[in-house]
């Protein structure tokens, strides 16, 4: 399946949850937050939420800001 990850198309195997995606990105979940199709996903739900074809996923991290 294909998802849109931070604005770019990404191929994924089926039956992948959010924690699988974070594993593929090789990042520590402590430093990030996730939204799928515009809706925030809590860290405690990363294993429960599975990705679907066409999902628009945002993975964000702290950034300098005013």
């Amino acid at each position: 399946m294909k998802i849109i990850l931070n604005g770019k198309s990404k191929k994924l195997n089926s039956d992948q949850n959010v924690i699988d995606l974070i594993g593929l990105l090789k990042i520590d979940s402590k430093f990030i937050a996730v939204a799928i199709n515009g809706e925030f996903i809590s860290k405690r739900n990363y294993t429960k939420i599975f990705l679907h074809d066409g999902d628009v996923v945002e993975v964000v991290s702290p950034h300098p800001g005013g």
Binding site: I27, K30, A33, G38, S42, K43, S61, P62, G65
Partner: protein
């Protein structure tokens, strides 16, 4: 100043953006003696932990923002993501309406404030100098309101002093912080002289030629102003009053 349930000794909140380097940013934090720093969320880059670790070195409280949000849904979801990362209920709410002057959306900011307060956030909304806007934010439950001095990053200072005075007078129990428009030390001093509780600034420090020195100057200016107010300045008179005695003036009868 009182920020919901916490009291900060320092009246200055510092933004973390646009510094020449992380080290210069850390020096500015030290020199301005801030206890609270604003941060943003953006799509992940190469090393998402890098900035997080810089923040940890400041030992400051984190005030995440919703910068770049143009509607209530974006702002609320960004706030939820901020809470997930930073484990704080504080949120600097920005719902922008006008991309040109980065003015906040009145309706969007009020609606997002209501929603976030119900979700347990401690909302610090970025507002204009409009009294009705500020009052509505207090009515929906905001304990802090942050009117702009002038548009973000302009350094124009306080362009509508009378409007800002009216907000202070009308909302005596609300913590008022000027957010945006500060360019010089004198602007920050003016904020304190207007009876405002604090200042939130970023570009003025980060983009100055010598940010650590400028940060120190802001701290000194603000604290001198606070001390001078405690010392009791004279009241303003419409008529001139000579400083020197009128008795015994030479060449007079």
């Amino acid at each position: 100043m009182q920020i919901y349930n916490i009291k900060l000794k320092n009246n200055i909140i510092l933004g973390s953006s646009k510094y020449p380097s992380p080290n210069i940013f850390l020096k500015c934090v030290r020199n301005i003696k801030t206890e609270m720093i604003t941060v943003a969320l953006r799509k992940i880059g190469d090393k998402p932990e890098k900035f997080y670790k810089t923040l940890a070195k400041t030992n400051c409280k984190i005030l995440p923002n919703t910068a770049g949000c143009f509607n209530v849904k974006e702002a609320v979801n960004t706030a939820l993501m901020c809470r997930d990362i930073f484990e704080t209920d504080f949120i600097k709410l920005e719902v922008i309406e006008n991309e040109k002057n980065l003015a906040p959306s009145v309706r969007g900011t009020i609606k997002a404030s209501e929603t976030l307060l119900k979700l347990g956030f401690k909302v610090l909304p970025y507002a204009t100098d409009d009294i009705k806007f500020a009052r509505r934010l207090v009515e929906v439950g905001c304990k802090v309101v942050m009117p702009w001095g002038s548009p973000i990053g302009t350094g124009q200072g306080l362009v509508n002093i009378n409007k800002l005075k009216l907000i202070r007078k009308s909302l005596p129990d609300t913590t008022l912080i000027i957010d945006a428009g500060i360019g010089r030390v004198s602007h920050a001093c003016q904020v304190i002289e207007l009876g405002y509780d604090g200042i939130l600034l970023n570009s003025a420090v980060a983009l100055s030629k010598n940010p650590p020195k400028f940060a120190e100057s802001i701290y000194n200016g603000v604290n001198s102003t606070i001390e001078s107010i405690k010392a009791g300045p004279i009241s303003v008179s419409k008529k001139p009053i000579a400083s020197t005695s009128s008795k015994g003036i030479p060449f007079r009868k």
